[in-house]
Amino acid sequence: MADGKLVSIDKTVEVLLDKMEKDGVESCWDRHLQQEPRCQYGDLGLCCRHCGQGPCQIDPFGGEQQKGVCGATAETIAARHFIRMIAGGAAAHSDHGRGVAEVFLAAAKGEAKGYEIKDEQKLLTMAMDFGVEIGDKSIEEIAVEVGEIALAQFGQQEGELKYIKKAPLKRQELWHKLGVTPRGVDREIVEIMHRTHIGVDNDYKNLLLQGTRAAIGDGWGGSMIATDLQDALFGTPYPVLGRVNLGVLKEDEVNIIIHGHEPLLSELIVVVSQEKEMLDLATSKGAQGINLVGMCCTGNEILMRHGIPVAGDFLQQEIAIATGAAEAVVVDIQCIMPSLPSVADCYHTKVISTSPKAKFPGATHIEFDEHNALNSAKEIVKTAINNFPNRSRNVNIPKESVDLIAGFSYETINYLLGGMFRASCRPLNDNIINGRIRGIAGVVGCNSVRTRHGEGHVEMVKELIKNDVIVLQTGCSAIDCAKAGLMVPEAAGKYAGSGLAEVCETVGIPPVLHMGSCVDNARILIAATAVIKEGGLGDDISEMPVAGAAPEWMSEKAISIGHYFVASGVYTVFGANFPTLGSKKLTKHLFEELEEQIGGMWGFEPDPVKAAQLMIKHIDKKRKALGIDKTRERVLYDMAMRRELEAV
């Protein structure tokens, strides 16, 4: 069995893996050990099974096997595999976005009871982005037009996505020049599937360009549309106090864990779980109340908008059930382990699937239908409450839980920096230019059993803030850093360098800002663009002192996110493993040549502190190119100092 201390920095994992062992329940860490040794061909991106003649494998040590049966080289095979990962990730984000657009449209037409447009201001900005005339139209009239245009973006065949216009002008020009401006969200994904079929595109650089086009269609298309529509429907996040880690489960209440990625159903479960009818039912079953908690990105969504506690990240989903205290784990889509029903079999927990796209043998299925969503939410909450009397005495809820501040949408950061009449990125730009803040890092992504759970995120982020780099976070990465106490204002004084701490303490923000779920990485793109447009830090994201990372990545979505960061001009470092290492030429192209072509590039470093240092080195390189490297050392200039500076 896996050793909890070795596999995770989180004490809850140690405690609950011990319990699982006693209860005779297998965890993902046990299965990870069973999978060793991994197939090295697959690990290096050198295994192809795109046709019935394979699988074909390329010998990474230069042996005889240098081409597949069809003649495909290591470069072709690894590039095809890499961009199919982008297609998978972009499809996941975009299908999420399409689902939101459908509910949004139904809500606008009054066909989805329980939903309404909560953020008129966000709707108005979307109307402006989409060229919808506002005038005296009602919210619903505008929302119908916005919803129809948003939905059409996915299937658009010609032209370019509307949100491309939000990128810095110089970036748009580069994308046009390279021919990577996405025409429609779906089209670019389909074209990847075509071009990676046997015998179509065999030039790794050309394959990668299509990967770039689809990834941009994700970041500046599907994901951005999902985030904006969710904001308009449920509200743009404000700073909110929450709590995180498994200690948020309660001994004497009905615990409902909402896990997955969409806020569509969970928003209504939040409403329903507070209704008197449900609270009375819970009391009648012997519970003191209903305790709703989140997990993974659905957790992040309801945390950002309601301060609902987050029980844990991707790797805590099985151990959450093993507490024996969860009456229901309600799941929608993405990053839900297929093992959950078999873990739940050993306890009283009911796993409730809700999406027709994601069913789990052994789970109870209560389908989410936007036209009848309130009833679905009620049925789910009732099922959980009715399960409370089945809870056994074999319960162990870990004590660990800490405070965090979440809810840092771009709009809110912009507001916090200037207030109602002076909202602006100017203070941020000024503090980057004067060197109090060295740069900006986006640290995002998943957890992987291939790294020590949580260590990559926490160690990297601590190293970055210690060196005055402000960190923007989403997804499970954000959950891990929150668990480590990095997302409270007090963390600035404790962990950040003096310059960053000074700025954070003045504004009253933590040095690590929680921006949401993984589709919300689009918020980071918008924040970076605002900094560019504000002026003084170059004309393009690639000129800014900025870097990205996913130290514990595992999903195809992470590859798509990483590639749209790169395609937007960001140096992006991944940890754990990297799927192209078997092809030297492709890896060189991704890690070096792309910087010349598109301004951003990939990096790979499994040690999180070394990875952070690579990011800082890149940030310093950009500071130097902008001519602001000296300002970090500036105090008050006397004439001698000025002369000295000018002479450099």
Binding site: L124, M128, I134, L169, N414, G493, G499, A501, E502, D539
Partner: protein, 72 residues
């Protein structure tokens, strides 16, 4: 509130006095706190804020790095 200063180590310039935390200690209790968008109660105010606060995309005449550029 009373402003506090603290002594800190600054990069390349030894110990410096800096402004300490300017936020009130404790946890926010009012659920409405921080909901800045609710300060705008009608569409006119919202549009005005969008044009100024979010001028990077929604002002006809934003300033900044791109003012001199032709549209892409």
């Amino acid at each position: 509130m009373e402003y506090k200063t603290e002594e800190k180590e600054a990069f390349g310039r030894g110990k410096v006095k800096v402004l300490g935390a300017t936020f009130e200690e404790g946890k926010p209790e009012d659920v409405k706190m921080g909901k800045w968008r609710e300060k705008m109660t009608n569409r006119k105010e919202m549009l005005k804020y969008i044009e100024t606060g979010e001028r990077y995309w929604y002002s006809k005449d934003w300033y900044g790095s791109e003012k001199r550029k032709k549209p892409a």
